[in-house]
Structure formats: structure tokens, C-alpha cells
Symmetry: C2
Subunit: 226 residues, 2 copies
């Protein structure tokens, strides 16, 4: 999905990330390096390196002398992440409208209008991807690398919940249709309106994710593994 380089560390990174993201490890549980190394048939070194990088993504935590732990997830953390995300995205919108010329905004609006049309009726994953890409694309208009990096990081930590398809058919990606209104507000340089729409949109998304977290946690603790 990201970079599919051939190196062993990357393999470890991707495998671990996917497993962490879908809570293949129990929240808060300790990750046994040797065990993981054996499972992925590689040495402990690349595992350790991958785990260190996953700290940055907020997917694992680390305690000196004790090792790495699968991150815990709670609805309050989801709240925090969405609140932070709103701060950054609304800032990005304000900055973008202040900095971009009309042609850029118009081109942005056209591009994403088309992409939304093309994705109509796609799978869940495709819609989630589209949603993420749209918000990142919007934020990228402001041309601020550090803000974008933090937003990507936040996405990573929320994403997994959106991907778990607990009961196929039950779920939908809410609010994709709301993007159209947001795009309009942007094109008309209506900052206040755009930010208001963003707030609504993110609130809805947050509600959805919160609900899923609860369901997911119940699920995880139901089929006790070890």
C-alpha cells in the first residue's frame, strides 16, 4: 500500500502494521520479539527496527526493559484524534483559500468532482481510500508539509477501524456525498462555510468510528486468543 521495497525491514513493517491495525494483537498486550521473528522467519533485528518505526505511527508503545506493546484504543482517543484533525484541516482550508489562485481551486474542484463520480458504487475500502485522499488533497492545497505529515499520521491511527468489516453489508462510509458541498464552498472561497461543513462532516465520521471502536473491542475480547 505504501512503499513495497524488497528489504526485510519493510516486510516486517508492513506485516506488523497490518496486524496491529486490525488488532491481530490484543490491545495493551506485550509483543514478543522472538516469537514474531520466528513467525515472519527473520531475525529479531529487523523486527525491532520495524517496531521502532511503528512507535512513530502511534501503533505501538515502548517501555524500556519491558519491550513493545500493542497500543490501546478507546473512544476518548478517537475523540482526541478527530478534534486534532479538525484543528489541522480547518487551518489548512483557511490557509489554502488565502494562498491559492482561482485556477488552482477550480482545478482542485474539478478533479475531485470527477473522482467522486467515478468511485460511485465502489467497495468499502475504495470509499475509505477516496475519503482519506480527498481530505489529504484538500489539506495539501495549503502547501504545508508538516501539517500534512501530522494529518497522515492521524489518518493512520484512525484508519484501521474504518477498514474492519465486521459484518459485511452493515456498514457504509457516511458523508462522502457531503464532500460535494465542501468542494463548492472552497470554490467560492467561503472559508466560514467550508469550515462549518468540515466540522459537521468530521463529527459524523467521528460518531461512526466511535461506534465501530466499541463493536471492535467487544469483538476482540469475545474470541479470546491468549
Amino acid at each position: 500500500m505504501t512503499r513495497t521495497s524488497g528489504t526485510t525491514v519493510d516486510k516486517a513493517y508492513e506485516q506488523l502494521r497490518d496486524q496491529l491495525v486490525t488488532f491481530g494483537f490484543k490491545p495493551g498486550s506485550r509483543l514478543n520479539e522472538s516469537e514474531i521473528a520466528q513467525t515472519l522467519s527473520m531475525s529479531r533485528a529487523p523486527i525491532r527496527e520495524a517496531l521502532n518505526r511503528l512507535i512513530a505511527d502511534g501503533l505501538v508503545s515502548f517501555e524500556p526493559g519491558r519491550g513493545f506493546f500493542c497500543r490501546r484504543l478507546s473512544t476518548s482517543e478517537v475523540n482526541d484524534l478527530y478534534e486534532t484533525r479538525f484543528d489541522l484541516e480547518s487551518g489548512a482550508i483557511a490557509a489554502a483559500l488565502a494562498a491559492c489562485d482561482d485556477a488552482t481551486l477550480e482545478s482542485f474542484a474539478m478533479t475531485w468532482h470527477d473522482r467522486h463520480a467515478a468511485a460511485d458504487g465502489g467497495t468499502l475500502d475504495q470509499l475509505v481510500d477516496l475519503d482519506e485522499a480527498f481530505h489529504l488533497g484538500l489539506s495539501a492545497l495549503a502547501g504545508n508539509a508538516s501539517r500534512l505529515k501530522y494529518l497522515e499520521n492521524i489518518n493512520y491511527r484512525i484508519r484501521f477501524v474504518r477498514r474492519i468489516n465486521l459484518e459485511p453489508g452493515t456498514r457504509r462510509v457516511g458523508g462522502i456525498s457531503e464532500h460535494a458541498k465542501l468542494i463548492d464552498a472552497i470554490r467560492h472561497r467561503d472559508t466560514a462555510q467550508a469550515i462549518a461543513l468540515l466540522r459537521q462532516h468530521l463529527q459524523k465520521s467521528a460518531d461512526e468510528v466511535r461506534l465501530q471502536v466499541q463493536t471492535a473491542l467487544a469483538h476482540i475480547y469475545a474470541d479470546d486468543v491468549a
Copy 2:
């Protein structure tokens, strides 16, 4: 400053961080693992681990197969960081005023009023510390862990410039006095005013830091090492 555990990795982490933060390595230059290992008289493993953690702090970058590199610094990066910081801090203020009761705000105001009074006439480092601590304390009122984490990260990436005392006596920490007005606005729950003051304050700070970056870069490239 952070955690001063006895482990080797921590030693490596701190040493490297300090060196990176003061640009003991040349911006953009490749970091030779073996060389560093020899200098710090330890093996490459802990060095590598420390470097991986420093990626998260934005102090080094990494390219597969090529190694670790000292981050580059530019005035545009400073702009980005300050803009992002404004997004987060203004969000924190809005959230804090919405969530906190009067007693909490009052206690916050008193505490920081006193601390500012106590720090009057302190050294440069002390003032920088005070400034950072105040802004973090303010943001902490909102009680959002993820936002606070990102703010701390941003501080880290800006801090070094503020610490380099190129020509003793020339510099001052601007705008500490402006905190008083900000505290007042907070106590009176005047969100708009508080955010306006914050914007001014950060703009001033950013100007100061930008200037220093240029001076620092000139300095670094002046005494060419290798």
C-alpha cells in the same frame, strides 16, 4: 531533559539528539553509523535504534539502503511548523474555554502569572523554557493527549534554534510579556481575543526564529568541517 534512564540506547538517543539539535552534523549530510558507534563507544545496534526514534522527532530522515541523514532546515520549514502550531494551539484554546470551569481557568491564570513574575530576569534558556511550558500548559487545559503530543513534537523541532546563543547578549526572548494579555483573555473567556493575541504572539516568535535560522545556517556553512 526527557528520561535519563541508564540504558545505552537512551544515551545514544540523547547524545545524537543534542548534536542534531545544534547542528553538530551538517544539514542534509549522511550519518555514518560505524563512525558514530565508535565515537560513542558502543555498537551499531543502539545507534540504529536511537536513529529510528529520532525519525519520529523529525530530526533525521532515512532512505532505504542509503542510511540516515541529518534533517535539513529552512525558513520555509519554520513557517510550516509555526503555522501548524497555530492551528493546534488555537484549537486548544477554543476547546479549553468550552470545556473548563471558571475555577480551573482562574487557577491556571494565577499559577502562570506567578511563574512569569518569578522568572523575571532569568537566563535565555530559562525564558525559552518558560515560554514553551506556558504554551504547553495552556494547550493541556483542553485535555487532548494527541494534540499535546504533536505540539511537543513541533516544539522539539523549533527549540534548537531558540537555544543557540550565537552572540551572547544580542538576543532576547521576545513576547514573554505578551503572555499576560493572553492570560487575561483566557480568564475572561474571550476566545476570539485570545486567538488573535496568540496569532500575533506566534507571528513575532516566528519572525525571530526565522532570522535566527538564517544566521545559524550562515554560521554552519562558514566553519566548513568536511
